[in-house]
Amino acid sequence: MQAHYGYKDGSGDYFIIVDTDKCNGCEKCVKACPYGVLELVENEFDIEGGLMTAVTEEHRKKIKYSCAPCKPVSGERRLPCVLACETKAITHSW
């Protein structure tokens, strides 16, 4: 299942997408994020789903600002959460 966390507003599209079929609940991305944007939650959509990564409620509405430090205007872009994931379950739309 593809879970899109984030929003689109006047300035653009900002979504972190978690593929819950690929996510194995290893929590590496949660720990890799320097700003506490992610958390491990119970997969409410699938009874056999187990644990999955999600964006915390607090950050869902300001994800553009929360993730801004990892997305400098110029220079190399290294997203700790994406790099930490072994199954490529997490992606950013921007």
Partner: protein, 293 residues
């Protein structure tokens, strides 16, 4: 919005009991309470069939609203909250339903509720709520396969419509109909921000545009934003719309035209989808509890 503006944003609150039904011989009576940021809905189901419901505006204190909306749904039925075998809370204020046995995310509840309202062929659910817009893809059992929820930005939500209705001074329950009285569709207003779209609308009105033309422009902009979100999860038939804004014919008809897909027609009030799904989950959970599953 200030009450002095004439309250064009205010929609009618209501309740209903199915006259032909009786709960006295029921095995399982469940409740679903959907506390949204703008509207709250309570549903009572008897053995998985819709029995009674109520829809009202969410007040300043979610807990109070949860109690009020449920009591109103039960009004005249002879039932009390304690008689409900199992209650599930959902929506923005779900943690504030004091008598709920469990809370379940509104995404799952809407998918389930949409299946109840529209049938098992539903694969794509678009929920346009008061302060959010959700796109949900589900399978033949109503299980969620993909979802996207936008509750940060007012563009494409009911609040955006409320702001606009207030501006052109047409009651929100009619603004959609009015937007369809134009002979030709105008270009849409800026769809990027309700605040800016409102300013544009003011300018258009000053320019002499008739109200229905401005309404059409605003509805088109809203539809653009909604389609943008929908296409992120993809659309598969059958396609349905839930939430309060599903009753706005100006939005629905333009969605149909621009998507080239006809949404299924609702036999029940689409605003109840979340609460219905919650009540159905309550039934499944209760059955599991008492060993029926």
């Amino acid at each position: 919005m200030s009450e002095e503006s004439g309250e064009f944003w205010r929609w009618r609150e209501y309740r209903h009991t199915q006259p032909s039904m009786d709960w006295h011989d029921a095995k399982i009576i469940t409740g679903g309470v959907d506390i949204g940021s703008v509207g709250s809905k309570a549903v009572v189901m008897v053995d998985g069939e819709l029995y009674a419901y109520s829809v009202m505006r969410t007040g300043g204190v979610s807990e109070e609203t949860a109690i009020k909306v449920t009591n109103w749904a039960l009004e005249g039925t002879g039932l009390k909250t304690e008689n409900l075998h199992h209650v599930v809370g959902t929506g923005y204020g779900r943690v504030n339903v004091p008598f709920a046995n469990k809370t379940i995310t509104e995404i799952a509840c809407h998918a389930r509720g949409a299946h109840y309202i529209y049938g098992p062929t539903v694969r794509t659910v678009l929920d346009i709520g008061g302060q959010d817009c959700k796109a949900i893809r589900c399978d033949d059992k109503g299980k969620v396969m993909s979802f996207l929820m936008n509750d940060k930005c007012a563009a494409g939500t009911g609040r955006g419509l409320e702001v606009f209705a207030d501006l052109i001074r047409i009651p929100i329950e009619e603004v959609g109909k009015v937007s369809l009285t134009v002979t030709e569709e105008p270009p849409p207003v800026s769809n990027t921000c309700v605040i800016f779209a409102k300013a544009e609308s003011v300018a258009l009105l000053r320019q002499g545009w008739p109200k229905e033309r401005v309404a059409a422009a605003y509805h088109l902009a809203m539809v653009d934003r909604i389609i943008d979100l929908l296409t992120k999860v993809g659309i598969e038939k059958d396609f349905v719309i839930t939430g309060g804004v599903a009753k706005n014919i100006g939005i629905v008809s333009r969605l149909e035209r621009n998507l080239g897909i006809k949404p299924l027609e609702a036999k029940l009030d689409p605003i109840l989808a979340g609460a219905l799904g919650a009540a159905l989950f309550a039934k499944a959970l209760y059955e599991k509890q008492i060993g029926l599953r």
